[in-house]
Symmetry: C2
Subunit: 213 residues, 2 copies
Amino acid sequence: MSTIPTATISRLVTYLRILSQLEAQGIKKTSSDHLAEEAQVSAFQVRKDLAYFGRFGTRGAGYSVPTLRRELRRILGLTRAWNVVIVGMGRLGQAIANYPSFDQYDFLLKGVFDIDPSKIGQKILGLEVQHTDALPTVVREKGVDIGLITVPQSAAQDAADALVRAGVKGILNFAPTIINVSREVHVEPVDFLAGLKRLSFYIQNPQLKEELA
Amino acid sequence: MSTIPTATISRLVTYLRILSQLEAQGIKKTSSDHLAEEAQVSAFQVRKDLAYFGRFGTRGAGYSVPTLRRELRRILGLTRAWNVVIVGMGRLGQAIANYPSFDQYDFLLKGVFDIDPSKIGQKILGLEVQHTDALPTVVREKGVDIGLITVPQSAAQDAADALVRAGVKGILNFAPTIINVSREVHVEPVDFLAGLKRLSFYIQNPQLKEELA
DNA sequence: ATATGTGAATTGATTCACAGCG
DNA sequence: CGCTGTGAATCAATTCACATAT
């Protein structure tokens, strides 16, 4: 079996969102051409990405929207609910917790944590903010899979260590820093300051538009 | 001149952050080995990334932290301030506006916008929330370079269109959807729901750890 | 002695062209 | 005929090895 590019996984997430929108519009059929246009990639790319996981289309006819959507949800592990906690209940943590339809995406918020005594005990969406020391208990008892880190940069590594010790399998890191975790825990960065700095580069160097992939 | 991988730009942002931390600690010298360890890449990669832009080190001795930091800031366009606006003053927009030291990074918030009449007129960090219709005026008068989109998915394309018409050069898109803009405007996505879904895939397929780049 | 800078080699990802199937 | 699925070819990115400079 050939190796799967990480970029393919990102694109599968995009294809799934497009399919969900098509399904919501009652559209039953689509094609690699259409998905490609919506995802802003080539049709070759769409077909190759899907080919890593199987054959989902009908030659000459394209793809069934419900079928391909179901398959992508299965491939991405989105047929089950994932239990998550948030570490860091500042403004960003609260915004994420309250994000519209966060729970509709089958990510269930099972706990919210901080180390600031003034925050502990506050209620967020019916959950009481707990001290990070309670992480191991909550992760075990609630079967938590994923931890979101929304603490300041200086506290991010401590939060990551606590989450890993508590036994989460994945971390979504909003803090603007790289965190070190054991090999078996996967980390996805969500770094908007880094995004701003990349924008700064591209705006300052518009002539590089052609020289960049 | 060879073409510059987009991944290189992301890594330069990481190297810059590491150098800033080293400088704050009073450390004057570093090496490609040290930067590589901190950035979780190879030392070859660090040197190759820097080589796209010049020679910044001393053979046998490594890199001067202040010098390399200054050079990276110059390369990334971070020696000047960038004027930004935020479109979407829900919880996420407010959290980003209030992000600790957002302005310390030389991104200056020049306006906040929404289309919800109940939000217009509210004060955020001394700025009055304005209707999106006012974007062209503000962008022109304040010299705004970058727009942040923190509206719901369904409103993201409209927000992007308004920003592009108003004349911004770059967009940081927090909405979970791909937006279409004219070629000369650069878009950086910041999609935490996509990050969660990628985590779902990697957690469900731990055996692929070796098969993924 | 030591660590950078860089052409060459290798590995990986994307694009292509067309075979295969409905 | 139309569109998918896929090996082959191309293109891009990373890794390597070592020449080079201090």
